[in-house]
């Protein structure tokens, strides 16, 4: 399986380690109202779709960047990859 690294091009998936659902980027605010329930969801609840899934991959034997990879879990087709840093900054409304 090849992962299209946004900076380095196609790279062997063996260079990467897998973390899981990309929603882990959206960590709840621990000081906000209802933080306990929000953290219970954040830590324990995951979607497990048969189909298109956004996941976090770490380029461990490479440039050590985190990627958000969009993958079809049924066919293993990789539909896209972007730097998790850009995704996180976009989520916060900052410039990527």
């Amino acid at each position: 399986m090849l992962i299209p690294h946004p900076l380095l091009g196609l790279r062997d998936a063996q260079e990467f380690t897998y973390l899981g659902d990309a929603r882990l980027i959206e960590r709840p605010d621990g000081m906000a109202e209802g933080a306990e329930a929000a953290f219970a969801d954040y830590v324990y609840l995951r979607d497990n779709p048969a189909g298109v899934h956004r996941e976090l991959w770490f380029h461990e034997q490479g440039d050590r960047s985190w990627l958000v990879v969009t993958r079809d879990t049924v066919t293993h087709e990789i539909l896209g990859a972007e730097l998790a840093r850009d995704v996180a900054l976009r989520g916060k409304g900052g410039a990527a």
Partner: protein
């Protein structure tokens, strides 16, 4: 003062050097290394006048060389300056950047071919899962090699440098030796 005897990464008193057919593989203990990372929002410096290369690239000039190691991060090499405090010198040339001494943390093996780029390409094809055709002169990247994490630098068509952490230097030398023998 304690009388210490310096040894190389392979435990010898002289750097390793061996010829395998058209390939000469040698340990390069003389290169000073330091990593350079930008702080958030900082602009890219030109240490010693060298323009830092983009992703997957290596550039040399002004007595130093640099390769990209990650977003806003580079490794800077300085030939024959391993016995100096190169990181301190680099800090003076890259104000506001985070500089970390890396000399001797990494062991560099230089592979030189006497018959053009074909033997270098053959070595790479045996060693790493990279697109060799796309890895031309001026390319540099980190990848896995026999479960070790290594940097590859294509210094020119007939030259390739492979560097690994000092603690795995003898394993890498063994792999290079066996692979080069197998090509002959």
């Amino acid at each position: 003062m304690t009388d210490l005897t310096p040894i190389t990464a392979l435990g010898a008193d002289k750097p390793a050097k061996q010829q395998f057919g058209p390939l000469r593989i040698s340990e390069n203990p003389a290169a000073a290394l330091a990593s350079l990372a930008l702080r958030r929002g900082a602009s890219r410096p030109m240490p010693m006048g060298l323009e830092l290369p983009g992703p997957g690239k290596w550039a040399a000039g002004h007595g130093v060389a640099a390769f990209w190691t990650g977003p806003d991060q580079w490794m800077i090499e300085a030939e024959n300056r391993a016995i100096e405090d190169f990181a301190a010198d680099l800090t003076a040339h890259a104000a506001g950047c985070s500089i970390t001494e890396q000399t001797d943390g990494w062991t560099v093996f230089e592979i030189v071919s006497e018959s053009g780029d074909a033997p270098i390409r053959a070595m790479m094809e045996k060693l790493v899962n990279l697109d060799v055709a796309a890895f031309g002169p001026g390319s540099a990247t980190r990848t896995g090699l026999h479960h070790m994490s290594v940097f590859l630098i294509r210094r020119s068509g007939d030259r390739l440098a492979i560097m690994t952490m000092r603690s795995t230097a003898s394993e890498l030398w063994h792999v290079l030796e066996e692979t080069a023998k197998g090509l002959g």
